[in-house]
């Protein structure tokens, strides 16, 4: 089976607590995948493992069938084309909105290249384009610390897109957004799928439904069910651990 992202039998524990217990997940190139599951199911930890922030104790994690992701670090995974949006929106608060996007743009990341980097008109245009997409064009010069929670989410999505990643790992993007914004995010992610691989973690079932894609339910660090939203919602175990609360 050809999978862009391949996790098999992954295990990880923290001080004896088993957070991930035999997790296997295969995601095709261009696929849109939603991950749901109760708090503490291991969704964020799974993303930590994919991006090299956390090393698994056991199991395989492969990128494009060749690259062993258990051997990379965060910067390495980003350079491979894996972009990540944190659960808690994280932007660089004392930089302007524009500079946040500017830092994320796909450029040479070496120390000396950044020391002598000149901002080109092409960069400025790309920043403008992205700011329009995430509807922050009017906030361009503001310090990002001044943005609302929802706007920070959007800025982070803008930064994610600026990196031009092949795979987007999006952790709870809808938190702090209005219903309207939530639907717009779902639409944006649906548009990105196809040309990008997208994995979204979300609790908001309306949002997941709007994504209209294959859903994986995680529970206690492993996959409990997988399939369409209607399929997993009908699973009694899923109802018991997650939906029925």
């Amino acid at each position: 089976m050809t999978a862009q992202l391949y996790l098999d039998g992954v295990e990880r524990s923290f001080d004896g607590f088993k957070a991930i217990t035999g997790l296997s997940l295969h995601v095709r190139k261009g696929e849109l995948r939603a991950i749901i599951g109760p708090n503490g199911a291991g969704k964020t930890t799974m993303m930590d493992i994919i991006t090299g922030k956390t090393r698994p104790d056991k199991g395989e994690v492969f990128w494009n069938e060749k690259v062993d992701l258990t051997k990379t670090d965060e910067a390495g995974s980003a350079r491979l084309g894996i972009g990540r949006k944190f659960q808690k929106p994280t932007v660089i608060e004392s930089l302007s909105v524009e500079d946040n996007i500017g830092l994320a743009l796909k450029t040479d990341r070496s120390v000396f290249a950044t020391l002598f980097a000149r901002q080109t008109p092409a960069h400025a245009d790309r920043i403008t384009e992205l700011l329009h997409l995430v509807r922050l064009a009017d906030e361009r010069a503001r310090p990002s610390a001044d943005l609302s929670h929802g706007q920070k989410q959007w800025l982070e999505i803008g930064m994610l897109l600026a990196q031009e990643p092949e795979l987007l790992l999006v952790d709870e993007p809808a938190a702090g957004m209005t219903d309207d914004e939530t639907m717009r995010t779902a639409e944006l992610l649906r548009d990105l799928a196809g040309t990008h691989t997208v994995i979204v973690v979300e609790h908001d079932m309306e949002f997941v439904r709007a994504l209209n894609c294959k859903v994986t339910v995680l529970h206690q660090g492993r996959v409990l069910a997988e399939g369409s939203i209607d399929h997993v919602s009908a699973n009694p175990e899923v109802v018991e651990v997650y939906l029925g609360r």
């Binding site: 991006t51 922030k53 670090d73 965060e74 910067a75 995974s77 980003a78 350079r79 972009g83 990540r84 944190f86 994280t90 932007v91 660089i92 608060e93 004392s94 930089l95 500079d99 500017g102 830092l103 994320a104 990341r109 070496s110 120390v111 950044t114 020391l115 002598f116 980097a117 901002q119 930064m159 990196q163």
Partner: protein, 366 residues
Amino acid sequence: MTKLIDRRMGFFLIALFIAVVAIPVGNLAIEGKPVASYVVQLSGKYLCYALLAVALDLVWGYCGILSLGHGAFFALGGYAMGMHLMREIGTRGVYGDPVLPDFMVFLSYEQLPWFWLGFDQFWFAALMCMLVPGALAFVFGWFAFRSRVSGVYLSIITQAMTYALMLSFFRNEMGFGGNNGLTDFKDVLGFDLQSDATRAGLFIASAVALVAGLMIAKAIALSQLGKVLIGIRDAESRTRFLGYRVEGYKLFVFVVSAMMAGVAGALYTPQVGIINPGEFSPANSIEIVIWVALGGRGTLVGAAIGAIFVALAKTLLTGWIPEMWLFALGGLFVFVTLFMPRGVLGVIEESWAKLRRTEPVKEVTP
């Protein structure tokens, strides 16, 4: 260029320029010496401190690395220059040995230790006062940043570093003059260190070094790399996930800063006439942090002002009520942390901004 010299920097450079003209002129060219010689010497020393503060602000203010060991880089630069000055003494020492400094003759050295070779050349010493601190910062930073030591842990190991160096330099066997350090210098580049003209020259050289340090630091801060540094300071993890290898950036800025501190030390030694292991004292490094916090962290100019201000206060207070100095310094630090989080510069700029906001209102009324 306009960016490099913003208003803040402009004001500071003008003030510095006035001092650089007025102090030597007042000392050398005006009848009756309205500026005493010791004032020239003290002012030069303050400018060295200011450069040291700028160096610390570059790593702490912009990259969030709270180094409590910058005094060590300063002292190493000071020792490198001190070694040159020792070798310049030549046969004019008490023992009259053409090669060996007095303390080596006294400790019955047969020959010059290998690490003293080359220091008879000024250019070599000038290079070493940057390379030695830079190399130490590189090795130290390589291990610390790669193992992701940060925050208080990093601050503690930098203190340990300077403490360990202090203990080593205290030992006679190290070959750096033990607890007496290096002193009794005669001249530098053929100029008598006791003469007023040489002192004025060193003062001006310190001012030039300070301006160069400020410009380099500002250029780094304004570059794309400077933004990565702020990214590391504000959200290190975010910056990593954007694909930046944080350890490389930290290492770069730490080494640049250490070299800058080394230059400050090298200019300090000939002006105070001595360098001893006391300069490695952990308390010195903490004091640098106070200068920067007081002046305004992350402003560069503020760091320089903070250093000059505290050094001046120290000179005045220790002459007046010496036992109170440490309490005054501690009290000042607490006061600034609690009431002036953006430092003196922050307070000045905020009041300035308020003034400006009220002014135009008056102007519009016809």
